[in-house]
Every structure is written in structure tokens, then in C-alpha cells.
Subunit: 353 residues, 2 copies
DNA sequence: TAGAGTGGTACGCGTAAGGGA
DNA sequence: TTCCCTTACGCGTACCACTCT
């Protein structure tokens, strides 16, 4: 049984009541062409009276544009991706676009996630949307989005900007900067708690770390074990350590750093007395950890804004320009301190194993 | 200059190529009516060959349904609302719905936010959507959504379930349970760090706290100052304390608890030795705070799932049934401990003022 | 002749309804 | 009952023609 019986008012209803043709109403909304001031006022009154709202679905049939952009979030909505979404939606509102969203979980088998991603993209194309924004660099993602790219512009937030010089692949200097900070504090045994290697961001940060260590002539020490970006992964990585052979750690993000710190505290080790640690993201809680976490702030909202503008640009001109990279300032807090002689971390074998 | 020239294949293109009418293709997709197995196979082949995807905008014109639901998020995307969104989108995928989202910031003046909310709703109605899901209980929100309600079902996530008995208004027992936990540990001077009073959730939790205190014959102590749900608000509330006259705190959510704990630590007070503290949400980081935070877990993903199902239900039958309330288990961690005699918190006047 | 202001018609892409074999 | 077709829409927009200053 259809719950709604009263038909929604159409443009024809408005036109009839005002005493003009639908064309005039259409021009009133589009801004293209002439409508006299007097007619505008009368239209506005009738629109208000009837509660008329133009039907975008109908309009998009004839016009080529739907005013809708699909956003595919790959992975759980953590602090960063939620912020990106906020940035996207603020920018979308500013430019009058609607946002269609879908989420897919990448951690459930390569074939599974590809299937879901394909379905989500088809959902977008069915809407239809004018462009698609995705945040992923999973294996095989290009294949998934290649088909969509023939229909609409696809903006990838995680696309690694390919530099011409393979030796210096990273305009994003997050990993490098974080490691440099620790080195400048005098630390020499600096480990890196690497994020999930399925994500480009994790690979970039690792590369930055390795570059900084190589430049300093130091042996890198990569701590494995994170399968996602969440705190339990950081805790698990800490649990895998038999001995602790570093005085400083650069963690792939704040969550990992938190989980890691928490487990080391269980072993009696606290930052910054016993070791220093840096995160990435500057999530709002990071400043209130115990100790407050030194981290690299990433302006996710700005990333979202830039991505949406790039999408609109691509829709309007067909031109794909690479996403600019925002500033990524280091926020120094209490979790990092200069290396002290006799710092207890060194070969403190834990009793865990 | 239009960037795309090649027209997207239409249902007519598929029909022509298969050698049937568009009706047959339509039936192939809708499942209504008969299409022979042989024809199905041929259609599938052509669909695959052309990369055809049905245009939902076109279909929704004649059919009354668009298969799209608008989701209006009020406030920043914190852990909880992001999880709700995840739950919504998972359920939406399961039922074949698309999700259109918008965000509005409620903390920018009543008139401002109402204006933005109205615009967002109009955006949804323009799409058009089959239903709208909102998460708000801001003052004046009913007025904003009343107009939309005449067009489509509106599901409000934060609508306070009105009990018949005004004496026991809260099926949601979060505030009550959290306070009871502290009382059962022997605490008598239990304070409540209240969340932003513009949100129903904050009011509900405060009411639960007040009820538990009244039942125990104890004087309530409400700590004001939180203007949002984030950690800095909790820190600000702690900074406003001249003297500390409690041995336990029930914080409106985990973020507030974290900010509060952080500032008290700055004054030399740590949980659970010096005071106990409970949060709400069980965000994934809460288990890794120092100390790990006792909190009430809220299944946000489940809330999202239920809301989407309620929306679909309302679309199909016009029936609005209230949202069921999920389990809200207490997760006991290290931030709460039994009241000890001589617990140092009592009249420890701080030197801040 | 140019520009303001408006209307007529065809069309975009599917679905509902109903008929025919 | 199975299978398919024809016709009439749904609601705006593109395109063009028209009038009047």
C-alpha cells in the first residue's frame, strides 16, 4: 500500500499557478535567460506557497549533469577519513553538489573487497553521479575503477603522486619529518611501527623513515604487525617484541602509537623518560594522551576540500590535475625528549616470552 | 566544453542489440514479470558488452521510489556518529539503497544552523530521496523537519523515546548504570561531567545520573562547561574546578573523560588511585588510555542499522515505529576502583585560582 | 538591429498498465 | 501460465521561435 498519495508539486503546477510557462520557472532556477523582476517575485511566492522543490532526477535526464558526486570510503571511518568526509561535504555544500556515499571493507580478502567496490561503483554509475571520489590504494583497485573512469572522472585521494625521480618518490614528507625530529633529539636507535602495508600512506611513511635513516647512516628497524590503523594493532605490535632495542619510535599513526605506548607502560616503560614516540594525524585526543603525543598534523578537512574541488574541476573541464598536498606541521608535545645518557631502554628483555 | 562526448548506453541500446523491447530489459532488472532463461542470458551478455548500468534517475521518474535515503549528520563526525554512518551504509548496501549525506554544524548560532539544516533538507527533497534520517535534537529542529515530514518519512536518531510515566523517562539507562557502578564501588561524592545540553543524549545521561543519586539519597554535583563532545571540552571543565570535592566522576562521554583526566593528571591526580572515572561510548582508544577507561559501550553500528531499517519500513508501509534500543554494557577497566579510606581527593584545593 | 522577456516542442530514460499470442 | 510488445506517461531542460521596446 503506497503510504503517500498526495503528489509532490511539479514545475508545471507552479507555472500554472503563476500564469507563465514551465520554461520561465526553469529559467528562474537556472539563472540562464531573462525573467523579469516582477515575475521572479510572483514565482517565489508560489514556490513558497506550494513548497515546491525542483526534482533533480528529472532535470538531470535532459541536462547532462546530476549535481551528485559519489564518495567511496575504503576502510572503516577513522578520525582521518571522517574528517575528509567532513571536508568533502562542506565543500560540496559550498558548490551545490550532493554527496552519495558508500563504504567498503578492504580487510576481507582481495576478491571480496574488489567485488564490493565494483558493486559500489555500479551503484554510483546507476545514480548516476558526475564524478567519483575514492580513498584507496589497495591492490587491484585500478582495475576496479578503470571501467568507471570511462564514464566519469575518478579522483583518488590516496594516489601516490609519482615523481619523475624514483630516488625521491615522496613529496609527502611525513615519515621523513617525523624521523628527523627523533634524530635531531639525539636518538640513534629509531624504530618504525609501520602501518598496514596495503595502504599507500603506510608505504609512503615507511619510505620517508627509511630515507631519513639512510641519510643519517643508521640501521633501520621496522616493527611489523599492524594490519589496520587502530590502537589494538599497535598493542599487538608491542606484544610481539621480545626485547626492546630502540630509544625512539615513529608510529604510522596516532592510534598505533597509543596502543603501543599502552603496552609498553604495562612493561613499566613510559614516554618520554624511557623512550620517545611520534605519531601521525594529530587526532584531537592525541594532545590528551598520557603523555600528550608528539605527532604530525594532517589537515584532513583540507584534503577533502581539495578533492571535491578537483572533482568539480574535472567535471567541468575534463581536466585532471593532481591533488595539491597540504602543510603537515609537526606538533611537539611531551612524548618526545632528547636522548639521555643511560636511557634505560636498550636491552631490557621483557618477561613476556 | 563538455568533456564527455560518448553517450552512456541506454536501455534502448541494450534492447535493440538483444532484439527485444525495452520492457523486457526492464523486467530483467525488476524481477517482476517473465523473461525466459535464454533471453536473460542474451541480455546479460549485451549488458556486459556495453557496460550498461540502468539510470536510477530516469527510473525514479515514473516509479515513485528513488532508492535513495538522505542522511543529515548534525555536528562533527566523532567516533559515534562515524560508526552510525558505517552501520547505515552497511545496511543500505544490504537493502540496495543509496545514501545521500550532508553535515551541518549546530554550534554556530541557532538561526544559522536552522538555515543550514533547512537547506540540507531541501537538497534532499530535490534529489529526491525516499526518506530522511537525522541525528539531532537541537532546539527548533522539529520545526525544520516538519515541512520535510509532509513529503517523506523522517527518522530521528536522537528522538527521546517518550515514556508514558514521566517519573521514569529513560529507557536508555546509560547515565543511571554508570552512576550505579560508581556507587556500588562505595563512592558517595560522585560528580557528573555533563555533555553539551543542546543534545538529547547529554540530557538523558544527566537525568540518569540524577536519578541514581536521588535514589541513593546523595547530593548531585554537576560539572558544567562542556560545549561539545570533544576532549578539550573535558579539559576546560577540569580547569574550571577550584577545589575537587568528589571521589568519582561520571563523564558524558569518553572524550570528555579523557580531557578531564589529562588535566587532573596535570594537578597530580590520577585514576584510579586518586579518583574513579567512567565514560560513555567505548571508543576503540578508550581501552588504551592511561589508565584504560571504564565506560559504557554503545553499539553505534547497530543504531545505524536499526535506523535504516526503520526508514525502509516507513517507506514501504508508511508505518513509523520507534527505534529499539540496543544493549549498553558496562566495560569495567582500570579507571574505576573501590573507594578507599583516606582517598586523597576530598578538599585538595588546587593552586590554579 | 539588439536585447529583454516569454512560450512551444521535442526529448532524456526508464516504468506502469494493459494487450496479444 | 509464459513470454513479450505497444503505448502513455513522469518532470524538467535544450533549442528555437516569437513579440515588443
Amino acid at each position: 500500500m503506497p503510504p503517500r498519495t498526495t503528489r509532490r508539486p511539479s514545475m508545471a503546477d507552479v507555472a500554472r499557478r503563476v500564469g507563465v510557462s514551465t520554461q520561465t520557472i526553469s529559467r528562474y532556477y537556472s539563472g540562464q535567460g531573462y525573467v523579469s523582476e516582477e515575475t521572479r517575485v510572483r514565482i517565489a511566492a508560489v514556490v513558497d506557497e506550494l513548497g515546491y522543490v525542483p526534482n533533480r532526477a528529472a532535470g538531470s535526464l535532459r541536462a547532462r549533469r546530476t549535481g551528485t558526486i559519489g564518495v567511496l570510503n575504503v576502510g572503516e571511518l577513522n578520525w582521518g577519513s571522517a574528517q575528509i568526509l567532513s571536508g568533502l561535504s562542506a565543500a560540496a555544500r559550498a558548490s551545490g553538489q550532493a554527496l552519495l556515499i558508500a563504504e567498503v571493507d578492504p580487510d576481507q580478502g582481495a576478491e571480496e573487497w574488489r567485488e564490493h567496490a565494483r558493486a559500489a561503483v555500479d551503484h554510483f554509475l546507476a545514480a548516476p553521479v558526475d564524478a567519483i571520489i575514492v580513498s584507496t590504494a589497495m591492490q587491484g583497485s585500478e582495475e576496479v575503477f578503470a571501467a568507471a573512469r570511462e564514464r566519469v572522472p575518478v579522483v583518488n585521494l590516496s594516489a601516490r603522486p609519482r615523481s619523475e625521480d624514483p630516488e625521491r618518490p615522496l613529496p609527502s614528507s611525513v615519515g621523513y619529518d617525523a624521523t628527523r625530529h627523533l634524530l635531531e633529539l639525539g636518538h640513534r636507535r629509531v624504530a618504525h611501527l609501520v602501518g598496514p602495508r596495503t595502504r599507500n600512506e603506510a608505504l609512503d611513511r615507511e619510505a620517508g623513515y627509511l630515507r631519513a635513516m639512510a641519510e643519517a647512516g643508521l640501521e633501520p628497524q621496522v616493527l611489523e604487525g599492524a594490519t589496520d590503523w587502530w590502537a589494538p594493532s599497535g598493542a599487538a605490535a608491542a606484544d610481539r617484541l621480545d626485547s626492546i632495542d630502540f630509544t625512539a619510535v615513529f608510529a604510522g599513526n596516532d592510534e598505533l602509537a597509543l596502543g603501543f605506548m599502552s603496552r609498553l607502560e604495562g612493561r613499566g616503560l613510559r614516554a618520554p623518560e624511557d623512550y620517545s614516540i611520534v605519531g601521525v594525524d594529530d587526532m584531537p585526543t592525541a594532545a590528551f594522551f598520557s603523555p600528550p603525543l608528539t605527532t604530525i598534523a594532517i589537515d584532513f578537512a583540507q584534503i577533502g576540500k581539495l578533492a571535491l574541488e578537483a572533482a568539480v574541476q574535472a567535471i567541468e573541464t575534463g581536466e585532471h590535475r593532481p591533488l595539491p598536498i597540504a602543510e603537515q606541521p609537526l606538533r611537539i608535545r611531551a612524548s618526545t625528549a632528547p636522548l639521555r645518557f643511560g636511557q634505560p631502554v636498550g636491552h631490557t628483555a621483557s618477561t613476556t616470552s
